[in-house]
């Protein structure tokens, strides 16, 4: 209170010249503040990106490291805290399967759930059966929930995104090989996550969308990918593999 009255009295005695000077200065200060605030709001975009990349907030994937690189790093520079936390944590992975409305396949997981520890790769299966007489081509997409855990879910190999063709009444096993990062066990954001759900959905590729070669039943199955940003390396990984030729007579 005393300080306030002192300030008021001083401004009262120097009122006229001081207020004229301060009006221009105030205008300058406020103008600068306004420009600063506008500039800051533009700067939040790259700043937020840096923040997310550094902390993984909101599920941002920080760089793309393969499982081999991660395992090597763990072997050469093990983080004791992370390893111990991962050893003690058990996560149950649940499975969900769906087919699109126009997809006459039976598609289901072979196990309802699997209990895994972060830091160890796991194999699971789905089965798909073509209920009709004709060959049908489909491709699947997947989803991992909750989002916080999705960033730690690494799929090493699976059957998604690529067109898969089943002959009439054919039933086939579809494996999924995945790895949960051990860092999940020591992530404070994930401390309450004990269940993860992996959902797959199969969509049908309509016959008119298939190219001439695909409709020729004696030709080998061509690999076509549906999905965001599939790196070309996935094709080279498969190039030395046998491509199955499907014939209706078999």
């Amino acid at each position: 209170m005393n300080q306030q009255s002192r300030f008021c009295s001083s401004s009262a005695s120097f009122r006229k010249p001081k207020s004229q000077a301060t009006a221009a200065e105030l205008g300058l200060y406020w103008g600068a503040a306004a420009v600063g605030m506008i500039g800051f709001s533009y700067a939040t975009v790259p700043l937020y990106k840096i923040f997310c990349a550094a902390t993984g907030y909101g599920g941002t994937v920080s760089g793309v490291e393969t499982v081999e690189v991660k395992m090597k790093r763990r072997a050469e520079h093990p983080n004791e805290k992370v390893e111990r936390a991962a050893e003690q944590r058990e996560i149950t992975v649940w499975f969900n399967s769906d087919v699109a409305q126009d997809m006459p396949w039976e598609f289901a997981p072979t196990q309802q759930n699997v209990r895994v520890r972060p830091g160890q790769s796991t194999l699971v299966f789905f089965t798909a059966k073509n209920k009709t007489d004709k060959p049908i081509t489909g491709y699947s997409v997947y989803n991992v929930t909750p989002d916080k855990a999705a960033v730690y879910f690494n799929k090493i190999q699976c059957f998604c995104f690529e067109e898969q063709r089943l002959r009439g009444h054919e039933e086939v096993d579809m494996p999924v090989f995945f790895y949960l990062d051990p860092e999940m066990a020591s992530d404070w954001n994930c401390r309450n996550i004990d269940d993860i759900t992996l959902s797959y959905m199969f969509h049908r590729v309509a016959d008119e969308d298939l190219e001439e070669e695909d409709l020729d039943d004696n030709a080998p199955t061509l690999i076509k990918l549906h999905g965001p940003g599939i790196p070309p390396s996935t094709l080279t990984a498969n190039s030395q593999l046998r491509v199955t030729s499907l014939s209706p007579a078999a």
């Binding site: 907030y57 599920g59 090597k72 997409v141 690494n154 690999i223 999905g227 990984a237 593999l241």
Partner: protein, 92 residues
């Protein structure tokens, strides 16, 4: 500031498993699944069967030949064998 809730989907690292159209490894897959059932869906005890399934696939060119330990199938046990120390609490 709410985080963007996007579905994080990305291509699998090693690509796609070619389908086992002729059921060549089907029996091993069945063995693995039976093991899972017996162990109340716990994955670790069934590791050896998973490895045998992958070896079957590799032999029939349904999977790229690779050392499975590199892919993390043994998890911490692999780390212990590589770094030559026990996977227990740290010795400082």
């Amino acid at each position: 500031m709410a985080p963007m809730s996007r579905n994080i989907t990305s291509a699998p690292e090693k690509g796609v498993f070619p389908l086992d159209h002729f059921g060549e490894c089907k029996q091993l897959a069945q063995d693995y699944l039976t093991c899972l059932e017996k162990n109340e869906n716990e994955a670790r005890p069934c590791n050896d069967l998973a490895k045998r399934y992958f070896e079957c696939r590799m032999d029939r060119k349904l999977m790229v030949k690779q050392d499975l330990a590199e892919l993390g199938i043994d998890g911490p046990a692999f780390l212990a064998s590589v770094s030559g120390r026990s996977s227990g609490p740290a010795h400082r």
